[in-house]
Symmetry: C2
Subunit: 392 residues, 2 copies
């Protein structure tokens, strides 16, 4: 549901350079959190031809094999040979990580744990809409599913000539009622072995990736397909494009349908509100929609560094609310505690749960590799009843 009659969102596969960087940063975070839940981690990665550079600020007592983690992530993605352009076993791994500034730390740590200050200032948005069953905007949902499917048919051998790097983009047409109606354009670029011809590649991408994923009723003769429009995409990964942590923040969230505060997720422990408060924002917005208080909801929160209470909490329901606006805000304040300590406690964030978040979106899905036997805690609609009760 949107005011736009056409809306476009994109996604990228786990082999995209920016996503390699995100996965490395989150794998390092996970390894440290597994040993030391009180660690402070802000891990930034750069990948370029033949090299992965890890940087940022980390304070921990844990000892982790950083080099091994970096090589493992690169190999797991499928970059295992210089033939495909990148090789986890032989690339260079450079570590220029420093410690968290003690002056930042003094703003965050408090004698009373509940008073833990926000790890930085900033603004974050959470969003939900009833236009899909996962309460996410449809364009980003289908863009993700296309690149997930690319990885699946690459891994299971259906299309043996696929390589890890890929991008997708979906332009959706919305009807007068604000509901998705048709797909206007699909863009899909995938890295490939040199042997496959462009026409074979295009046919296989349509049959094995696009058709199994996109709802048939949305496709028609008017749908435009752009499949590997450059004609050739053998060179990919970090050779074709430098990758950096935090450079796919719109792919990571709502595909542009919701506003964004600018903060990145990967590599950050949940004392950083850029991550924890954005997860909480999704949780709040999804519970509001699940409770039927609005069919579309965006929440903004903001923080000052070192302060526990948000500096602002603000709501937008785009005219879809079923209950007066200020009452919803009051119910949110009653049902949700948005101090960093409370978010971390209520969403159970001090665990090594982050690597699966780093590809195919942080919201609106069940990760493939379920950690700790649970789905993403911020996708639970466990406070919908409490919201309704607060409004009674």
């Amino acid at each position: 549901m949107t005011e736009y009659s056409l809306f476009t969102s994109e996604s990228v596969s786990e082999g995209h350079p920016d996503k390699i960087a995100d996965q490395i940063s989150d794998a390092i975070l996970d390894a440290i959190l597994a040993e030391d839940p009180r660690a402070r981690v802000a891990c930034e990665t750069m990948v370029k031809t033949g090299v992965a550079i890890i940087s940022g600020e980390i304070s921990t007592n844990a000892w982790v094999d950083l080099e091994g983690i970096v090589r493992g992530v690169i190999n797991d993605i499928g970059y295992t040979s210089s033939d495909v352009g990148f090789d986890g076993a032989t690339c260079s791994v450079i570590n220029i990580i420093g410690k968290q500034s003690p002056e930042i730390n003094q703003g965050v740590d408090r004698d009373n744990l509940e008073d833990q200050g926000a790890g930085d200032q900033g603004l974050m948005f959470g969003y939900a809409s009833d236009e899909t069953d996962v309460l996410m905007p449809a364009p980003i949902t289908y863009a993700h599913r296309l690149v997930e499917r690319q990885a699946k048919v690459r891994r299971d051998g259906t299309l043996k000539w696929l390589r890890p790097d890929a991008k997708s983009q979906v332009t959706l047409r919305y009807g007068e009622d604000g509901r998705p109606e048709a797909i206007d354009a699909v863009v899909l670029s995938t890295q490939h072995n040199p042997e496959i011809t462009l026409s074979d590649l295009r046919e296989a991408v349509i049959e094995e990736i696009i058709k199994p994923v996109l709802p048939a009723e949305w496709l028609s003769d008017h749908t435009k397909y752009f499949i590997n429009p450059t004609g050739k995409f053998v060179i990919g990964g970090p050779v074709g494009d430098c990758g950096l942590t935090g450079r796919k923040i719109i792919v990571d969230s709502y595909g542009g349908m919701a506003r964004h505060g600018g903060g990145a997720f990967s590599g950050k422990d949940p004392s950083k509100v850029d991550r924890s408060a954005a997860y909480a924002g999704r949780w709040v917005a999804k519970n509001i929609v699940a409770a039927g208080l609005a069919s579309r909801c965006e929440i903004q929160v903001s923080y000052a560094i070192g302060e526990a209470q948000p500096t602002s909490i603000s709501l937008n329901t785009f005219g879809t609310e079923t209950v007066p606006h200020d009452k919803i805000v009051a119910a949110v304040r009653e049902v949700f505690d948005l101090r960093p300590f409370a978010i971390i406690r209520d969403l159970d964030l001090l665990h090594p749960i982050y690597r699966p978040t780093a590809s195919y979106g942080h919201f609106g899905r069940q990760p493939y590799q379920l950690n700790r036997g649970t789905a993403f805690s911020w996708e639970r609609t466990d406070r919908a009843e409490a919201l309704k009760a607060a409004l009674r």
Copy 2:
């Protein structure tokens, strides 16, 4: 004008680590474009304690002194001594830049120059609103002015104990009529010399930075001030925080008030639609508001790599339009040519104009250091009359 009753935006100074990276990337872009307007540049920078790493993909015939440019930018910002944590003269400069993939290039270059393909897929938004005289949202406008003022009083010696790294955040309260009414909260953190006491710092920041910038009628006893809330901020710049190009995309654009497609600006030559089409989007939206067709306007465009024509153009006027919506879209299509070639021509983008864009926002202002004697071309309202004529 917004649906939110409270809205928060932030900005950062030119000494913030992510902004150091953006300015280095754009200074390199400028140096190359000055010699070779046909160059292809995608320059990414990482700064951390004692080191600046430049990376990305560049294809050019120009020879430029990359090391000298990097050192120059760092020194110009004010990082000139290890006493302040970073020194342009003595830090390490590491260059791992590669060439643009010839397979990407074959999608972009065309025999007929006008058919130049988009340098990547992607979605971009442009925005304008009549809530300030620069047709920008008020929260980001004032957040920028606070950190611009921090740099000014640091440079002119008014507050000699200021250091380059700083962040600001403004929470604005909107009235029933959707107009800015009051400032609810201001956050300002600035790096400083160790000599100044916290209370002296707070008083000086209020008197010399906050009061000269924020409209007095919006400040009251209800305004909350958070000035250096961690208590100490002597360590700053790349020692306190790793900096990366493209990690302040919301600061660079509309402070979160408008949607964002996710693409970064700095370091990218205008064949990359992430930059050129976002600039064009601002130009289109601003002309629509200037022509009185809406008081608030957001435009989305999207591209497929290698294709000249956008895959979608879409408009949102939030119910503020004075002319039916589809007529505005038709007028936009008539008056604006959004192929990459045409954007570059009409906004005159193949010049070394980018370094000043890399701090204090790409939109809604006249840069201090005017290059080529002109303001940002995408801020011109030179097509407002043509839009009106197209609607007659």
